[in-house]
């Protein structure tokens, strides 16, 4: 029986047609997933009928028989009470200064402690969390708390917008399983995601959107096995799988970087302890582990971009100076690329200025013309045309900004680049293209790579070896294929099972 039906939904904002004839339905106890790349209109399709998106609506959206399109805000408000919303960012969707209990009580309209504890229990959280503040909870626990809040008033429809994108791979299926459980009570579930293979395991129907239009609609298994549309195929292919054939990686050469006994502590907590590893010329090493395992801290410590308490780093057998003593000739060797492309470029600088920055400081002898030439060559290498040189970060998409960040890292001809979750803030299609680009650079330049990631598929696509981190220690190292086939540590087993 149909719980929520959307037919021919259109949304116009100014002169832009954001949605055009979108139709889908959610059955009672069923789950429908809206899938598409960023900007395809999947979030809009979810929120617009409930008056939660700007623009002018047309078409029809019926929740339990009640038409939503055309209703004003006062009429929509009671109807929204029949729907629970789960948002993408569990880190920002909770108010930091209120306990979980008081936020849940507000959502439930009920202060009875036993009832609140039961709501948390239903979402897999102990009652003790009621008295804790959001910062004490991990990302996965926060998402569980948010789901508890979204379901507190027993809505008949649950709308979840990318509920797992901000989470570790290990937590994704656990959260989706939790959402699945609400279906057994006859609730409908509407899921928004860009990860088609991930959601396909949990939904009945998949609706693929592109540029505000439905391009494919069918049973989840059918869409995944026999995609009809090119974009659907791209979405499936872009999500890197562990069972794809092993890539051919360049042969590693002489030892390049070697770190021994690295230890980093923040106040009294030990973030990294006794970590040692080495990277050879042209070799790629993946530092994998769940969020908070200390992999970023370790990488920054050896790159001399973060604190490092004890331990030594050598480069081709020569000791690397401490952070404050790094000279241009040391900085030239190693360049970083960070996770959030928007935050890794100065908003006031043009692309050309950002890409030329390393040249200005690391090669002060270059003339301005030579600098501009090398910057243009670097932009060309990351497949960005000269038209981008004068743009500012606000005029770039996430993928373009990440390409600029890669060009900035490459322009000084480093022998090793540090990829700090370089693809995890990007949507799957874009991340796939960035991975292809990195693989090409790895082959072409014999670039050594230190890749920090929680995504094993990234490790598998680029890296010769992996080092697994858990709670600040390296618990397992070895050849990528061998480690993934037979994981020795609990941390890697968890990651493999999740991926």
């Amino acid at each position: 029986m149909t719980l929520y039906a959307v037919e021919g939904l259109g949304l116009t904002l100014g002169s832009a047609r954001l949605l055009d004839g979108v139709s889908f339905a959610v059955a009672k106890g069923g789950c429908t997933a809206l899938v598409g790349a960023s900007g395809s209109g999947k979030t809009m399709s979810c929120f617009a009928p409930f008056g939660l998106a700007p623009g002018i609506l047309s078409g029809s959206a019926r929740l339990e028989g009640t038409e939503l399109v055309g209703l004003g805000e006062p009429a929509l408000r009671p109807l929204r009470a029949g729907v629970g919303f789960v948002f993408q960012q569990p880190l920002t969707a909770l108010t930091p200064h209120l306990t979980i209990g008081s936020q849940l009580a507000e959502a439930a309209g009920n202060r009875d402690r036993a009832a609140l504890a039961a709501m948390l229990d239903r979402c897999g959280l102990p009652a003790a969390k009621l008295d804790q503040y959001p910062h004490r909870l991990s990302g996965g626990e926060r998402q569980r708390a948010l789901i508890a809040m979204a379901t507190a008033h027993e809505p008949s429809l649950l709308v979840a917008d990318e509920p797992t994108s901000a989470l570790d791979a290990g937590l994704r299926h656990a959260i989706l399983d939790l959402l699945d459980r609400f279906r057994e009570q006859g609730k409908g579930l509407l899921l928004v995601s860009h990860d088609l293979p991930l959601v396909a395991r949990h939904t009945d129907r998949v609706v693929v959107l592109d540029a505000g239009k439905v391009i494919e609609d069918g049973r989840a298994a059918d869409v995944l096995k026999h995609p009809q549309h090119e974009i659907t195929r791209a979405l499936i292919a872009a999500s890197p799988r562990l069972d794809s054939p092993a890539p051919i990686l360049p042969k590693p050469g002489a030892p390049l970087l070697s770190a021994t006994g690295i230890k980093v502590a923040f106040r009294r907590t030990l973030a990294v302890s006794e970590a040692s590893f080495d990277v050879r010329e042209g070799e790629a090493l993946a530092l994998v582990g769940r969020s908070g395992s200390g992999k970023s801290t370790l990488a920054r410590a050896i790159a001399r971009l973060g604190p490092c308490d004890t331990g030594s780093v050598t480069w081709r057998g020569q000791p690397m100076p401490v952070r404050a003593r790094m000279k241009p000739e040391h900085r030239r060797r190693l360049q970083p690329v960070f996770q959030d492309p928007a935050a890794s470029l100065d908003p006031h600088w043009t692309v050309a200025q950002s890409v030329e920055e390393p040249l200005r400081h690391l090669f002060p002898d270059l003339t301005p013309e030579a600098r501009a030439e090398r910057a243009a060559a670097a932009l060309d290498e990351v497949e960005l045309g000269t038209a981008f040189a004068q743009r500012r970060p606000s005029e770039l998409s996430g993928g373009q900004a990440q390409r600029v960040a890669i060009a900035r890292a490459l322009v000084a001809d480093p022998e090793l680049i540090l990829l700090d979750e370089a693809t995890s803030a990007l949507d799957v299609l874009v991340a796939g293209r960035i991975l292809d680009l990195l693989a090409k650079l790895q082959q072409g330049r014999r670039l050594a790579i230190l890749a920090i990631t929680h995504d094993l598929a990234v490790a598998r696509a680029l890296c010769h070896r992996i080092a697994v981190m858990d709670a600040g220690r390296i618990v397992e190292t070895g050849d990528t294929a061998a480690c993934l086939a037979a994981p020795q540590s609990q941390a890697l087993r968890d990651l493999v099972r999740a991926g």
């Binding site: 790159a303 790094m326 000279k327 900085r331 360049q335 960070f338 470029l345 006031h348 400081h361």
Partner: protein, 260 residues
């Protein structure tokens, strides 16, 4: 917001351009027109108790007040930004030490400090500038430090460090341009504060010296004569209030634009 900008611009333009066009200077005494009412020939707003043209004096006072306020706010901007940026950038003990100095200065009754400075070094416009500016930088330093702390671990700052940029280049190339809009908003909120302080000092007789005048002195003199010549209080009072309100309005507008 727009109204505030227009009114403020009108006051500033009038104070800068109008005085040479008036028949009477701000210090000239018209012996034939002591305490004339408004709209008499030659004196549009009348004269004060010794026959000086009220319009000319108000415009001259506005000039002095705005000049003192702008200069003092700029002093505050320079000291505050340098201090806050240094503390925020180096962090740790240096930050701790520098910000405790700010806290200690906050605790001083700053009006008292300015008055003591005046008494010790004698009255001069320069001292008024410096005295006020040296006290007003405290808030600026705190604001700038907070901004620098928020920026300093952003990836683009780390990338700049990896690009071999020395601390000076990072501060001038990345940090300062990125805090400029916030600093400007606080600068615009500092100016009206300084206008008030300057007027208050002048009202107490510690500001600029006669025959040079400021809005505070005019309000003080006007208050003595308010029963017989209310305009001598109302005109400079109105200009003072309008300037402060407009500047506050613009500063708030700028700040909330950034908060978005």
């Amino acid at each position: 917001m727009k109204m505030a900008a227009v009114l403020l611009a009108a006051i500033v333009v009038a104070a800068l351009l109008l005085p040479p066009l008036l028949p009477w200077g701000y210090a000239a005494i018209d012996w034939d027109a002591v305490r004339t009412p408004a709209f008499s020939p030659g004196h549009v707003l009348g004269t004060d108790s010794v026959g000086r043209d009220l319009l000319a004096r108000t415009l001259a006072g506005t000039r002095v007040t705005l000049a003192v306020a702008t200069a003092a706010a700029l002093v505050a901007l320079v000291i505050g930004t340098a201090w806050g940026a240094t503390a925020g950038w180096f962090g740790g003990r240096i930050d701790e030490f520098m910000m405790r100095i700010v806290d200690a200065l906050y605790a001083l009754p700053f009006m008292f400090v300015v008055i003591v400075l005046m008494v010790v070094f004698g009255r001069s416009v320069l001292l008024v500038f410096l005295g006020i500016g040296a006290v007003e930088w405290l808030t600026m330093a705190r604001v700038v430090r907070g901004q620098v702390l928020a920026l300093r671990n952003r990836p683009f700052i780390l990338a700049s460090e990896a690009a071999g940029a020395p601390a000076r280049a990072i501060l001038t190339g990345h940090i300062l341009p990125n805090i400029a809009s916030v600093a400007v908003a606080y600068l615009m909120l500092t100016v009206p504060q300084v206008v008030m302080v300057e007027s208050f000092l002048s009202f107490l007789g510690l500001g600029v010296q006669e025959p040079l005048t400021s809005l505070g002195i005019l309000v003080h003199d006007g208050a003595d004569d308010m029963d017989i010549a209310p305009l001598t209080l109302i005109v400079p009072g109105f200009v003072l209030v309008a300037t402060v309100v407009c500047l506050n309005r613009l500063g708030e507008g700028q700040r909330s634009r950034m908060a978005r």
